[in-house]
């Protein structure tokens, strides 16, 4: 392991508890719990050039940054490097801190056993499997929220509801689950809250669909 970032925030529902870890050979793996790119397990290999860039950042980081209180309302971000050990980086904008956070987003390019939400048609929010491995989920209560936007993030409506599905389903490649939503001609953002099962552990998660809107 040359870098590990764990981001947590228990003030949110569902709680944020995410991690990304990069090994010396470029292997990247981790877990996402509240994510646009899907929730669940992710694993892959970073391209050599990307790994080299990350190594350069880690090498130039030196010792731990000066301590500063994190900004009000922030969650916890703990970065572990072989050279420095754990460092709290919430609120820091150093190149390495930014790169580490970006790795959490990059992680979703390597789905292994994950579920994402999409908006394939005006009346449907679709949960679908991503990756190669199966994942167990509980769909007894799927809380969804639909936010509609016009222009550049001008609110055009906000709806929410609860969909019911099976208490336990093993989702594999090709699996989908459709949730009826309110049709609108505006741009739609979605969230879907459900539970991932891992052994006896139940992990509440939120899959998000938030395509960017063009700035004016």
């Amino acid at each position: 392991m040359i870098l590990r970032l764990v981001v947590t925030d228990g003030s949110q529902t569902p709680a944020v508890a995410e991690s990304v870890e990069v090994s010396a050979d470029g292997a990247i793996s981790g877990w996402r719990s509240v994510s646009e790119g899907g929730v669940g397990w992710f694993a892959g290999v970073l391209p050599a050039a990307e790994l080299a860039g990350l190594r350069d950042l880690i090498g130039s980081a030196g010792s731990a940054p000066p301590a500063a209180p994190p900004p009000p309302d922030s969650g916890q971000e703990m970065l572990e490097l072989a050279a420095t050990g754990p460092i709290a980086i919430a609120g820091l904008g150093s190149p390495l801190a930014v790169a580490a956070r970006n790795l959490l987003t990059r992680l979703t390019d390597f789905p292994r056993a994950a579920v994402a939400v999409s908006h394939p048609s005006p009346t449907v929010a679709r949960l679908s499997h991503r990756g190669t491995d199966p994942i167990r989920i509980d769909l007894t209560t799927v809380e969804w929220r639909e936010t509609a936007w016009r222009g550049y993030y001008e609110s055009a409506g906000d709806w929410s509801g609860v969909a019911a599905g099976p208490p336990e389903v093993t989702a594999g490649p090709g699996w989908t689950f459709d949730i009826p939503i309110v049709p609108t001609d505006a741009a739609v953002h979605l969230t879907a809250d459900f539970t991932i099962l891992s052994g006896s552990t139940r992990v509440p998660v939120r899959a998000k669909h938030t395509p960017a809107l063009a700035a004016p």
């Binding site: 309302d73 993030y153 001008e154 609110s155 891992s198 992990v203 960017a212």
Partner: protein, 648 residues
């Protein structure tokens, strides 16, 4: 804020009925004294209190306390100025706003004319109109127009005045229950020193405070009891401190107990200045320079400087002249220079603030320091005061609605100077900009929980999120998950009594279970030991806090990161301190169970800077006058008088 936000579900359990543990003997008076466990008090009560005895007691309660209690006014103070617009006779109807509306909302809820407790936002919306109509019907005013006309207002005032006072229990050593907590609140508000923990237990420390009050304020032979006359005195001098049904639903709402003067600003970093460095190496144009030029003129700059906000040679020269023989002559206004200038020229009509501050929330320290300090400027114009926050948005472009959200939430008040009758709206605005007087906010894609320095472009709750974060940009601290003292300082309210009786499990047992959970790094167990066992926010939870503080401290070893799911980061070794909030934060992983556990042992307001999603308080909602107190002080320094924030 409008009536639309009035229906909020409760999170905090309302106070329980009073329960009184009877004393071991029912004989009143000196026979009870051994229970006080204090020989001085016992001697005092053997006869009429002599000056010597009072002096002896004052060492227990504190001379300062007695002086305050016995002093003129005794904390009662002058009656507050009438609300702006409150004395008028004009009709008040849908669309109206201001203190008169807020006053009506208070009364409509209390006389249970509204369906549910009205959010006291000073905005006359459809819920307020419906409540007026219901009230009119109930008292026979025909037709029921929903308009607060002079007749309706008079009847409403009369109905409110006729509400029965709270029924108070006789409290003695050993009493427990909500009324004990309310008495502790009121004694605190009247200057009890040391402050009493609002734990709803009439113990030895409370007895000292009660006796001191009897002697110092009531001027009576102390009985060590809070009886009807003492309750009448406490209730007359301190508002709130009881539970009342509000709305037709009869929802019990604890009435806030004001105490002291609120300071909602974060704790200023020691040794820091509230002025940005101005001149070479700092700001060379803008409001800070204008303030400098005004103050140099007030300090005698000759010839007077043109207040143009440009730090040029003449300003430099005037500054150096001022610095001579006072502070090092640098030609730059640093902290020492500003301190000297403020001493001779405290007021100005324009200025800039750079506030370095911290806060403790949920047992963790947060802050806006160094390059992330809060930066804002203000200007007293002909007809308003304008507060400006210049934000350097980096990353994505900020949605235009954010700027409107700030104004909607914050432009609610005006400054009023009762003596002169002057008033002046206080407007807030957020503008784009860069430079040394701007704050940097990262605008990132998607949704998530914003913090003071990072906002989400697609935040569906931006109407509340952005005004909250804007509050941090003007130096306001959070009002959630606070220690009691911080809650008192930030809100100007005594910590609520809330749940006074607890679940029937001894506080010490719960404290021990919590410590065991911390040693095991197990937040699930901590939650089970607290909320799971029936602990709610309030006085009983503070008994647990006190019991925890008495436990022997211990060390919790470090724990390596765990991949989960859910993943847990490396947790360093922790030496438990006895402060429950600090220890829960340090020992447990940052998850929902820890958050819920900390919530019940801390205090949160329902205001814009608090946690309206978890707390219910129709009396303390949205932006509050305390949040703009800094600008009232600025008005006072610039224009003279004592300014108060009133709804407009």
């Amino acid at each position: 804020m409008t009536d639309a936000s009035e229906a909020i579900l409760p999170e905090r359990k309302p106070p329980d009925p009073v329960t009184v543990r009877p004393p071991e003997t029912e004989t009143a008076g000196p026979v009870l004294l051994p229970g006080a466990g204090n020989a001085a008090i016992a001697r005092l009560l053997q006869g009429s209190p002599s000056p010597a005895a009072i002096a002896e007691l004052s060492q227990l309660g504190g001379n300062a306390q007695l002086a305050r209690l016995a002093g003129p006014g005794g904390g009662s103070g002058a009656p507050p100025a009438p609300p702006v617009g409150g004395g008028g006779v004009a009709d008040v109807r849908v669309g109206a706003h201001g203190e008169a509306v807020r006053d009506a909302q208070v009364k409509l809820s209390r006389v249970q004319a509204s369906a549910d407790p009205l959010t006291e936002d000073g905005r006359f919306g459809p819920l307020t109109e419906a409540a007026v109509r219901t009230f009119q019907t109930s008292v026979g005013i025909v037709p029921a127009t929903g308009v607060l006309d002079p007749v309706t207002k008079a009847r409403l005032d009369a109905a409110f005045a006729a509400l029965p006072p709270p029924v108070r229990a006789l409290l003695t050593m050993g009493s427990t229950g909500a009324d004990v907590g309310f008495a502790q609140q009121k004694l605190n508000a009247l200057g009890a020193s040391p402050r009493l923990t609002v734990n709803a237990v009439f113990d030895g420390s409370m007895l000292v405070g009660v006796i001191a009050y009897e002697i110092g304020v009531l001027k009576r032979f102390p009985s060590g009891t809070i009886d009807a006359p003492m309750w009448a005195d406490l209730d007359a001098k301190v508002k709130g401190g009881f539970v009342a049904p509000e709305g037709a639903s009869g929802r019990n709402v604890e009435q806030d107990t004001p105490s002291g003067t609120a300071n909602s600003l974060g704790t200023q970093v020691a040794g820091s200045s509230l002025h940005p460095v101005t001149g070479a190496g700092g700001l060379t144009q803008g409001p800070a320079v204008k303030e400098l030029q005004q103050k140099l003129n007030t300090a005698g700059a000759a010839p007077p400087l043109v207040v143009d906000g440009v730090f040029g040679p003449k300003t430099t020269a005037a500054l150096q002249t001022f610095q001579t023989d006072k502070v090092p002559v640098t030609g730059t206004a640093d902290k020492a220079t500003w301190d000297a200038l403020d001493a001779v020229a405290p007021g100005s009509t324009v200025g800039a603030v750079e506030r370095q501050w911290t806060e403790v929330v949920g047992g963790a320290t947060y802050g806006m320091t160094g390059g992330n300090a809060s930066r804002y400027s203000w200007e007293i114009q002909a007809k308003r005061m304008l507060v400006t926050v210049k934000v350097n948005f980096v990353g994505l472009a900020p949605p235009g609605a954010w700027f409107t959200h700030v104004q909607t939430a914050w432009n609610q008040y005006m400054g009023v100077e009762p003596a002169s009758g002057k008033s002046m709206p206080v407007d807030f605005r957020m503008i784009r900009g860069a430079g040394g007087d701007a704050e940097t906010v990262q605008v990132v894609a998607g949704t998530g929980r914003a913090n003071a320095g990072q906002w989400y472009v697609a935040d569906p709750n931006a109407a509340s999120t952005i005004p909250h974060e804007f509050g941090h940009l003007i130096g306001l601290q959070d009002e959630y998950q606070l220690h009691p003292g911080d809650y008192l300082r930030a809100t100007g309210h005594e910590p609520p009594v809330g749940d006074a009786t607890g679940p029937g499990v001894p506080a010490a047992t719960i404290a021990t279970n919590l410590q065991n959970a911390m040693v095991a790094r197990n937040s699930v167990n901590a939650r089970a030991a607290s909320t799971g066992a029936g602990v709610h926010e309030g006085a009983f939870a503070q008994q647990v806090v006190e019991a925890y503080a008495k436990l022997p401290t211990t060390n919790v070893p470090a724990v390596a990161a765990s991949p989960g799911p859910p993943p847990v980061p490396f947790q360093p070794a922790v030496a438990l301190t006895g402060d429950l909030l600090f220890d829960l934060n340090a020992a447990l992983p940052d998850d929902k169970d820890r958050y819920a556990t900390i919530q019940v042992f801390s205090y949160s307001s329902a205001s814009l800077m608090g946690d309206p999603g978890r707390e219910f308080d129709p009396h303390d909602h949205g932006a509050q006058p305390r949040h703009i107190a800094e600008f009232m002080a600025i008005l006072g320094r610039a224009l003279g008088g004592t300014w108060e924030a009133k709804r407009r």
